[in-house]
Structure formats: C-alpha cells, structure tokens
Symmetry: C3
C-alpha cells in the first residue's frame, strides 16, 4: 500500500523539511481510507427500503439489503461476473439474487444458497460466498463494521454519554468533497472557527472570540481542547482592531480559563474540561451547555467523506418534542447546513501538505499523534 508521497520505482526521498509532507505521522499519512475494526454510521435506517442500496465506505462497495426489521450488508459484487448485487432482486425471503443469472445469496452469511438458472442441483451452490459485514442499528442509523473477525460491541465506538442516557436526536448526513482527514482536522482545528465562521448565520447573535490560547489534554479515549486564554478582541499591530463583537451580539457566559467547564451536569459521565473533543476513528464532539453536537467523518473514498452530524439533547417527553421542532426548523439549516457547509468548503479546497503550521495547530498535531499512538489497523489504499 502506498500513498501520494511515494512513486513506484523510487526509493523514499530523504526526510524533507518539516511541513513538506506528513512523514512525521506515517500511520496517519497512510490512512487515506480510514481505519478497519471500527463501527461507522452510513445511512438512516429508513433510507433502505425494499430495494437494495449501494454505499461506499472506506473504499469498499457495500450493498445494504433490508429483511423485515433487519438490515444486512454484503460486498457489492457478485463473484460470478462482477455485477453489483445492489442491482439485484429480492426473489426469495432472506436472500438477494444477482440480476444477471439469479445467483442467490443468503443475506445472513453471504452463502450462495441457490443458482436459479442452473437448477436445484447446481454444483456451485454452497461453494461460493460473498463477504458480509456486521451491521447494527442505533439512533436511527445503520452502522457497519469494516474489519476481520468478530466485531467488538458498537458501544465501544460510541461516546460514553450516548450509551446509557435518555436522549433525543436531530441529524443529517451528507457526502462532501475532500478526504476524511481534512474533515476531521477541520473539526478539531482550534483556529478556524473564529475567522471562517465569522459570517455564519448560526453565530449571528453570539460573539465568537478573536483568538485563544489553547492546550490539548487527554481524557480517556478523547482529546479535549482547553482554553487557557480567551480574547474577545485584539489590536493587531499595523492592521487595526480585530473583534467579532457587535452591539447586537450576546456574549457567551464567562468561564474560568483553564478550569473545567461545567457543561451539563445531568449527563452521566460527561465532565469535560473543554468544549471540543475528538476521538478515534474520527468522531468530533462539541459540548454546548444544553446539547451536544457530534460529527462522524466516514471515509467514502480518497476524495469524498460522509458527514454524519447528530445534535443530541438529553431530554424526554415534551421537551424532547420541542427540541425536535427546533432542530427541524432551525438547527438543521443553520448549523448542520450553512455553518458546516463553510467547513466543507475549506475541506474541499484545502491542499496539504506542504503546510506551515501555527500555534493553534497544536490541536491538529495532537490528533495526528493520537492516531499514531493508537496503532490503528489502517484500511489499505491503492491509488
């Protein structure tokens, strides 16, 4: 497996200047298609109806097929002549049939359990298998496990606070341009929000800081950005005043720098020192006082990433219903729409390495180091 930086027949160039490539983080550099042995969310359960649906996850082509309440995932290629099974027919219960010759696969294990055009005694029956992927449904989403062997529980790949609490969710999934690593870096990037999102409608009535001084701390699976200093305005020498304050904008509640922000004490197990955190295999958590925003960066292929955005509130009953209404009428369009579309714009046009990192980019390098240290099983990539 190779990446962009090497070309066949040439020995690897001498270590170049810092910033010229990502060779300081060789695992990360190679993780063009993300990591095996993890659960990734891919679609909403209601997106898979009677007909099979094709998705690409970590570069793998997968056919999602519904059987009653269950959803199954098969490698989207009939081994006979390479026709996608997602084009297939649901001829018999519990199976999918390739549209070409009626090779019929058991949805549970991928076994070729019948070959319609070769009769009941077809000699090849039972001797061909299509790869299947473990699937789970949770939070209204379909999760698939790209890995070998038995998967670990889905819970292990979920933020702790989502595992046991009653909650209500608003969410949105979009495939956007750019590699998933740019999306993840952009999510945990300390510096950009204060400039890029300056113009976002979502922040129309809330001041954003001018600049911060930041540390990154480790908290279990997560890296957390902690603000040591928050500056609401700055007198830039030779340029002028830089601030996001406007007379009509509300200041966020003051918080004590360097101390743990009490976000939402009713959430079990969430006692965060900071606002924004990230973890493997590419999950961002932004903890607002009354809700939490999550982003999963699900690799599609080298140049496309699926954003799975969830807005979660730990409420039930009428308050949960109220949140649903608020989500559908505002948050979905302002935050999960226009706001994160600004991020997607940058993820699309970004072109690194080479790169020159600056002080706030300690968030990026901490994330890259974290990936290296977790020694993940990188999904192979061939250009």
């Amino acid at each position: 497996m190779t990446t962009n930086a090497t070309s066949p027949g040439r020995s690897r160039p001498q270590r170049r200047q810092p910033g010229q490539d990502w060779s300081s983080w060789p695992t990360y550099e190679s993780a063009v298609l993300g990591f095996r042995d993890h659960w990734y969310p891919v679609l909403w359960t209601e997106q898979v109806g009677k007909k099979p649906v094709a998705v690409t996850v970590l570069g793998e082509n997968i056919a999602l097929v519904r059987e009653g309440e269950e959803i199954h995932a098969l490698h989207d290629r009939c081994p006979h002549r390479g026709v996608p099974l997602s084009l297939g027919r649901r001829q018999f219960p519990g199976t999918v049939s390739c549209p070409y010759h009626g090779w019929t696969y058991d949805l549970k294990d991928g076994n070729l359990c019948g070959v319609l055009t070769d009769g009941p005694d077809s000699p090849i029956k039972g001797r061909v298998k299509v790869r299947t992927y473990p699937v789970q449904q949770r939070f209204g989403l379909i999760w698939v496990y790209i890995g070998d062997g038995d998967p670990h529980p889905l819970n292990d790949d979920l933020p702790e606070e989502l595992r046991h609490n009653a909650l209500v969710i608003g969410g949105r999934t979009d495939i956007r341009k750019g590699n998933w690593r740019f999306a993840a870096e952009n999510g945990f990037d300390e510096g950009h929000a204060k400039y890029l999102h300056n113009t976002a409608l979502w922040r129309l009535f809330k001041v954003m800081p001018a600049w911060n001084k930041t540390r990154v701390v480790e908290r279990g699976e997560w890296l957390v950005r902690v603000q040591d200093e928050v500056h609401w305005e700055a007198d830039m020498p030779g340029l002028g005043l830089w601030t996001n304050k406007r007379w009509w904008k509300r200041m966020p509640l003051p918080d004590a720098p360097g101390k743990a922000q009490k976000i939402n004490p009713v959430i079990k197990g969430l006692d965060l020192p900071g606002f924004v955190s990230i973890r493997m295999p590419g999950i961002l958590r932004v903890a607002y006082p009354h809700f939490i925003h999550y982003e999963w960066y699900v690799p599609v292929d080298a140049d496309n990433v699926r954003y799975v955005q969830l807005m979660v509130r730990f409420e039930t009953g009428a308050r949960a219903g109220l949140f649903k209404v608020k989500y559908l009428t505002a948050v979905r369009w302002l935050f999960h729409g226009q706001f994160t579309a600004q991020d997607a714009w940058m993820v699309d046009v970004m072109d690194a390495p080479p790169e020159k990192l600056y002080r706030p980019d300690l968030s990026l390098t901490a994330w890259r180091r974290k990936v290296e240290q977790s020694r993940p099983n990188v999904q192979p990539y061939k250009r």
Copy 2:
C-alpha cells in the same frame, strides 16, 4: 503499488488461481479492440450524406465520405498537422479537403492530389498518402475492413444463409458502454436470459425455461448451443419454486432435447442443431422458427461497443412488407430496444475478471477457446 494485472518493469506474476484473470485465453485476453482482417458493419448507408462522418472502429478513427453511390473510408487524420479529415470540405469531386490548409486527398487511394494553398506545382503533391480502408455496402449497411493487404470477400464474414437467399431486414445500431467481449459473451451466455430477461416485455406472453442443461457443438464457423434438458420449473431447496410460467403465457413448441431443431427448412444451408450460435469475429445468431436475429459486436474502443442488430426474414413481396411493418412498430422497440438494453445494462456494469464460472458458462469458455483456436490477428491495443 501495482496496477491492473501487469505493470511495466515487473515480471509477470506467477500463474494465479483459475478465474483470477483470462490468462488461460491469452489471445482473447489481448483482443481488447477485436480482430484485424475482418469486415465489420458500422453505419447505415443513409447515415453518410453530403458531409463526411467520423466513426471509431477497433480504436481506429475513420472518416466516411460519400461520392455518389460509393462510400469511402479514410484514416481520419491529415498527416500535415493532425486535423481530422471528417471536418473537411468537399471542394472537388472525388476528393476531400482538410479544412485547415486545403490539403486535398483522392477518396479512392488517399493520395494527396492537390494542395490548394501551395499552388499547382506544390512539391509535396503526390508524396503524402492517407490510409484508406476497403468499404462495401450490403443489407443497407456500410462495412469496413480493418486489415492489411487485399481483403477477402465480404461474403466470407457473413452468415451463409444471408449470402444467397431473398430476405427482408429490420435493424438497429447503437453504441453502448462496455467492452465488445462482454457484449459477445453476454450474447452467447447460456444462463442469463432466463433470469435477466424474465421481466422483458418481449417475453410477456411466452414462457422462458427455468434452467437448461446445455452442450456446445461446432458446426463449421459456428459454435452452437444445444439443449440436452429444458426445465420449465424448479423446486429450489430452501428457497421455493422457480418458474417463469404464468397462466397467461404461452409455452413454446416442444422440441426434442439433444436433437436438431428444425428451424426453418426453407432457408438454404441452415440446418441448426440449436437455437443460438456465435462465430468470429463476434457475430451472434438467434434462430427463431420464422426469422433470425443477428448481433454484430463491433469494437469501438476499449470501453464502448457498437451493437448492430438485424432481424431477418426470408420472405419477399407482401409478406416481406408485413414484416417491415411489424418490425418498425414492435420488434424494434421491444426486442432490439428494451430486451437487448437489459443486456447492455449488464455489459456496462460487468467487471471481470476475476470471475467464478458455473455450469452453463461452458458456452463462454467454448467461445474463448474458439477464439484461441482460430489464431486471429489481434488489433493492437495500448492502454
């Protein structure tokens, strides 16, 4: 990093598992662009009018130019600066002139017979030649010969029964996606019709078998598929009943398995043991009781194939006229349209090798072997 099976500078990998590649049929594997020294049909004669027409056949760019009743084929590239002659003007009879500088070529032999912008004494006149291709017109089609030296008679590349009989033709040509070999294999493929075409309107009132047992026999130039067993329904263990029978569908006439089907005794020289046959350089024949359907798979380039479909009935006079009407109102849309568009869909999405062949695929391997044995002159292909 490796590319598709071979990459420059690497020795060929060890022989792989059967089905991993087509190395068992090396000639066939290399015949991405088909075969030289054959006549291929490309367009209807009325498609070439006053203006030259560009076509691509076997990867070669050709300009077709009409002069009265005759049609000429020239390499579609002016040797001067590489401008396509199909963009040219008909300045003088019997010639075509490059639109750029008026280099004027004799349509018969491709000789540069005048250079308008260099005067009557142009020194280059007569010293440059554009390649020409032999052309014939037959059945309302333009046939070109891609080969070196004098061509053999067109008759040698035509099915015997078309050479001497009075007949009436309905036809259709389309460029479709996919390599020509997939198209040819799909045509002679024993298994697919019974499942893929299950939903075709063309078969709305006629039952198709559930599965067959088949042999392939050689008959002169042709390979013929012979049914040893024809099963109209099958009880698939663990799945259920598989049949194409419906109360409103008519069963075809019974035929004695293993014996020669008497198709149409009035057709001279056609005493076929079976229904479907194939021959070089890629001609399919499907002999119905009262007419014959032909498909020519004409390579355009590596990823596109021209389907030339003919429906032939050996009639004259009023009966021929009736057939014409039937063709234009029904057959053209149901059979040459929707039915074979299902084939084209598969040819487009097929992705082999690797492949896993099953019992009915003896039709494919027989065809590949036939190609190997005929030691054809493969059209060179550079990726």
Copy 3:
C-alpha cells in the same frame, strides 16, 4: 522538466524521422507552458473589482487583488493549509486574509503581517511569505511578470509602435482550448488563412489570395512574412480552378511583390516589409493599411491558451471615437469573434507531432528556430 515525448526512467529514443517529433527544436518542444522573464497580459483592469480574482498564467495560480488604483498579484495558495487566497477577504487595507484562519498578507510584498486567530503576538507573523508577481497596467490591461529577480521594463515586451504613439484600442480576451504553441503557430502560419478563413464573414467582400510564395525575414525582435508571389487563382491539375474571387468581392490594393509594403507611414518606427509578423514570447502583429491587429498567446496550462486580441488605430479625438464605435459594432464580432474562432477551432483539434510540413510552413520552422536562438528561460512543466 519533462515533456510528452520522454518518460521518466527511459533513455531518450534514437532520433526519429523528421516530423515525428519536435526534437529539432528542443527548447520549443519543452516550452509547454511558455517562457519566464516576460510580461504577459491577463485580464482587463476592470475585471478585477472588490473581490480577488483567480487566474492561471503559465501554469501558475495567481490571485489578483485590487487596492485602489493598484492591482497586486500573489501566489494563490496560503502556505498554511493550501487554501486559495483568491477566496480570501479584504479585512484590512493593503492586505488580503485567507478565509480559513485569517492569515493576513501584505499585498505589496506577500509578507504575513498578521494572523487574526492567533493574536497580536503570533510567533509566525513575519516568518511566512507568499510569492508576489510584478504587475503593471497598460492599455487597460493587467500585465504580470512570471520570472525571478527584478523585471525588465514592460516596454521591452511591447511592440515598438505601441510605446510612444497616441492610439485607440478595441480588444477582447478569451480562454480557448489547445496549447499556446499551436495558437502561435496558427497565427504566423502562412498557408491556412486562404483556405480556413475562406468562409469567414470578415472576408465576405474582400478577395483572399489562392496561394503565395513567401519568405520570412528578421527585423529586430520580429520575424516578418514577405510575399514574393501572390496568386489570386490557380488551375489545380486534375481538380479544377481554385480561387477566392467572386464578382461582389473587392481586390486588395496591388502591392509590389518582394518590396516593403508601405503600411501606415504615420506610425513611428513601423516600416514593415510585410503584413504579418511574430515575436517572443508569443505576440502576433497583422498590419492592415489603417490599423494593426495584435494577438498575445498567453499560456494558461498545457491545454488552454488565453487569446488577448487588440485592434489598434493611431488616431485621437473624433476619429478615435469613430473607431471605437466601429470596433464594438463590427470588428469585435466579425474579426475578433468569428474569424479568430475559426483559428481556435483548428488549435483545438490540431494533433501534432507527428506532422508533415509543406512549403508555406517555412513560417512555422522560422518561428521555432527563432525561439531556439533566443535561448529563453522555459517555464518548467510536469505532466
């Protein structure tokens, strides 16, 4: 730097037959992207308003930014994460800010003079520089200098007669398909006009010659095509009469072959022996009796060229105003539009080498030799 003809790791093939490649003109062959150390026109000054504008010149991505009357050119890539500065904001006077993190660059020298999201004391401030390009405005056009070190005066890259005379200009810029060398060759090409432009509306009332005998002479920076013989008709053996004469067409003024045409004696320094001339780095001059037409062939990338066409008349006052009206109502559409679009069509479909040159192509080979002799600094090109 490599070109199409060579591939890495292979030794250059033996010298091939003449016309098979451009190896007789190795500098020219390598000049896919034109020449460094020259001024090229790129846009009209009014095309750059408040928002930065992205252009590609000689394969380099450049952001043009207006500051009052001045226009600045910066390498269109923020060194931080590779985001185009042409997407940036004009946050503070005299600077442009990357839209992502507010890295702010001085327009004059490209210095990173502030980093909005890292506070007034950002350690990286002053330690990063974006490349800037010298810019000049002249004739309503923006000219950029792609080269290293201090540029020579713009005047050195302008036709002499444009430097000191009062003049009025009509002009048009378009990006067209094809490499700039095909555009330049087409411009100075002796033979094509008489056939290709035969059908141009611009020549509807003026006869063009049937063919010429031509020499190319050097006159300072310029190569000039001189007609030794002009033939208005030709009896082409075996073909017929070739002429552009029609009863409604006016003949141009007779001129003495081989002698200097007196074009426009009021133009200082323009005493041309011929009608059409060319010079580095790719400027065509067509001297009509009462005006001069210029074309700059500005390389965009390997496959696109920017045509900057100027029609110049050496008049002032009312006569200049009249010319402006004539330009906008007729010349712009007939000559800078339909006429040169015929050229652009050929530049797009041309496919050389290989090529076979003919007698009038001494204009092309003279131009290629001229490029070799001027030993230009070729802009590097990587496929």
